[in-house]
């Protein structure tokens, strides 16, 4: 099994979720992160002084899937999250040794 991790733009999340559910993947875990990269942050003004905010808010999506589906997941997420503008994000895949569903204790692909 693998874990697919995607860093995406916040507004792409819905499309990504939908796209994944077409693949039959309903489960995922998401979190707020801040990204640094080619895409630049913005400027804010307080009491006449400007401040740079260098990070860019992003969403991290983590999806467990079977190894076979990994490529498909990556492809689907790539398409769903792409705007073509700088800052669209990254996807990476790591191998997972085991997965357990806490509720039942079952392990392996069925636990996903």
């Amino acid at each position: 099994m693998v874990l697919v991790t995607a860093i995406i733009k916040p507004h792409a999340l819905d499309t990504v979720r939908e796209a994944l559910s077409y693949l039959g993947i309903a489960g995922m875990t998401i979190s707020e992160v801040k990204g640094f990269g080619r895409q630049r942050g913005h400027t804010e003004i307080y009491r006449g002084a400007e401040y740079r905010v260098e990070y860019v808010p992003k969403i991290k999506v983590e999806v467990l899937s079977s190894a076979e589906m990994a490529d498909e997941v990556v492809e689907v997420v790539t398409k769903a999250a792409r705007t073509g503008k700088i800052g669209d994000g990254k996807i990476w895949v790591t191998a997972v040794d085991s997965v357990t569903r806490i509720r039942t204790g079952e392990t392996g692909p069925g636990a996903i």
């Binding site: 733009k9 916040p10 507004h11 801040k34 895409q39 630049r40 942050g41 913005h42 400027t43 804010e44 003004i45 307080y46 006449g48 002084a49 400007e50 401040y51 740079r52 905010v53 260098e54 990070y55 860019v56 808010p57 992003k58 503008k85 700088i86 800052g87």
Partner: protein
């Protein structure tokens, strides 16, 4: 006799006066009431609306409130006050009522513009030319009345701001408000309070059910229609960002209304006190009524805080036209009835295609427009002639008589006055916005709407939290330094939708 004089002396001796017209108690109350009403706008509505919008719009909302408040005052003292409360513009000196109602109407439609800037414009005895003959002489300086009427004029645009939030351009807002005040509000005020046509016909509007709330509802609705809806995302997920902010605003609005309705007799009179308690009674009844409807018919059958606030606002608006014309029983009933009407409209009428099309962000057309409209009609029903505002100059009591007390025609008069306001304000709003739209778009770009405050003002409501510092306390040392003010960040402002 000796005794009487001594008594009088004890009572009155301490007063000093270089202004023989002045009654210090009346003036104390008028200044106080005006301050309470002003607090309803800043910070009241600023945070009431500020809490109800998404976090990304809170700065824009608050800035439009403060700036709108300021902008009205400038035109008010330069020309608008006299257009609402001065001598009629379209009347010769020797004018006599004509047999033609249209002629009469326009002769009593609006006042002659003029400033209030001079020392006498501020310190001389207050006076409203067309009203003076009927009511006791003001025991107040002009400044007290001009300022009191200003806080009313100022809150009206801030109410309909609620309809156009989250997409109207800031520049359009600060242009629209003074124009609307000059052309629409002044007419509303003149017709009903400045002694104009509808006042002469006997229409009643104690503190602005029509002049202010119906006007705000109408204007907001028309403006929302013309400016178009918020962006899809904002409209579909119109989640408030802070209910405690709403509570602060709501509390100040409720009690500020003690000045709103209590200040309108222009005297610290028994009627002022009656207006205050009636206001609170109608509000309490309306709040509880709304909560009950929520519990019995609401989507989740639960009492909700924002429902209670809706009910509260409706109660305040409902009693505004009649606060000093009805007795306590009338006040309770008006609150409960109007709250029921608006609850039903809010829940069912809002499903109508027509209502859905117009994106009235805060529902001003319900809680102010419809509430004010029916509040005015209910005055026509419940006005109790034994509730006396004051003795007129002629010695007779000034009061109104509603349908329940044998004068059903009052309802008709109220209705016609309401229709006049609706038509005039809709028309003026349409024309002003149309004209502005020739010069500049009325709405922000969709990209700006995606981002919100940061795009429009370069500010966020909770900068430290949203910014780097909460997550990165040590961050500032290298990158958080103020950048030279001329250098805009390259590729900057990409947060939000663009991110």
């Amino acid at each position: 006799m000796q005794h009487l004089l001594v008594h009088l002396q004890a009572a009155a001796a301490p007063s000093f006066s270089d202004k023989p017209y002045l009654n210090t108690g009346d003036n104390a109350w008028q200044m106080t009431a005006a301050t309470f009403v002003a607090l309803m706008s800043v910070p009241g509505l600023a945070v009431l609306f500020g809490g109800l919008v998404q976090k990304k719009w809170v700065v824009n909302t608050m800035l439009m409130t403060f700036a709108g408040f300021a902008a009205v005052l400038i035109v008010w003292v330069l020309w608008a006050y006299h257009m609402g409360f001065g001598s009629p513009l379209l009347r010769g000196a020797n004018w006599k009522p004509s047999s033609d109602p249209i002629t009469n109407f326009f002769a009593n439609f609006i006042g002659r513009p003029g400033t209030t800037l001079s020392s006498t414009g501020e310190e001389a005895q207050a006076s409203i030319p067309l009203v003076n003959p009927g009511m006791p002489a003001f025991a107040l300086p002009a400044a007290s009345v001009v300022y009191f009427q200003f806080v009313f004029a100022a809150i009206t645009p801030l109410l309909f701001l609620g309809s156009v939030l989250s997409r109207i351009k800031f520049k359009v807002w600060v242009i629209f408000v003074p124009l609307w005040t000059s052309l629409a509000y002044t007419v509303n005020a003149f017709l009903l309070w400045g002694g104009g046509y509808w006042a002469q016909q006997g229409a009643g509007d104690f503190s602005g059910g029509y002049v202010i709330h119906l006007a705000a509802g109408t204007t907001g609705f028309v403006a929302a229609a013309m400016i178009g809806p918020r962006i899809k995302k904002d409209r579909e997920k119109a989640l408030p960002h802070s209910l405690p902010l709403v509570a602060i605003g709501a509390g100040i609005v409720w009690l500020g209304w003690n000045g709103f309705n209590g200040g309108d007799p222009y005297f610290a009179s028994a009627n002022a006190a009656a207006a205050i308690i009636n206001t609170n009674m109608a509000t309490a009844a309306a709040l509880l009524t709304w909560v009950l409807w929520d519990v019995f018919l609401g989507p989740a059958k639960k009492p909700t805080f924002l429902g209670a606030v809706n009910g509260m606002v409706v109660g305040l608006v409902a009693i505004t036209p009649s606060a000093g014309y009805v007795n306590g029983a009338g006040a309770l009933l008006i609150g409960a009835i109007d709250s029921t009407i608006v609850w039903m409209a809010w829940t069912y009428l809002s499903r109508a295609r027509f209502m859905k099309k117009v994106d009235d962000a805060m529902g001003v057309v319900y809680t102010h427009g419809i509430a004010g409209f029916f509040g005015g009609l209910l005055l026509g029903v419940f006005a109790d002639p034994t509730v006396v505002e004051y003795q007129s100059v002629a010695g007779s009591k000034i009061s109104l008589r509603g349908a329940l007390y044998g004068h059903p025609k009052q309802v008709l008069i109220q209705l016609l006055a309401a229709l006049t306001i609706i038509m005039w304000d809709a028309l003026v709003t349409f024309v002003i916005l149309k004209v502005i739209s020739f010069f500049t778009p009325l709405r922000m770009s969709d990209e700006d709407c995606e981002i919100g405050d940061l795009a429009v003002h370069g500010e966020e409501g909770y900068p430290e939290t949203e910014g780097v510092s909460r997550i990165l306390p040590g961050y500032g040392e290298t990158i958080g330094v103020p950048v030279p003010s001329a250098a805009p960040a390259d590729g900057s402002i990409t947060v939000g939708g663009g991110a």
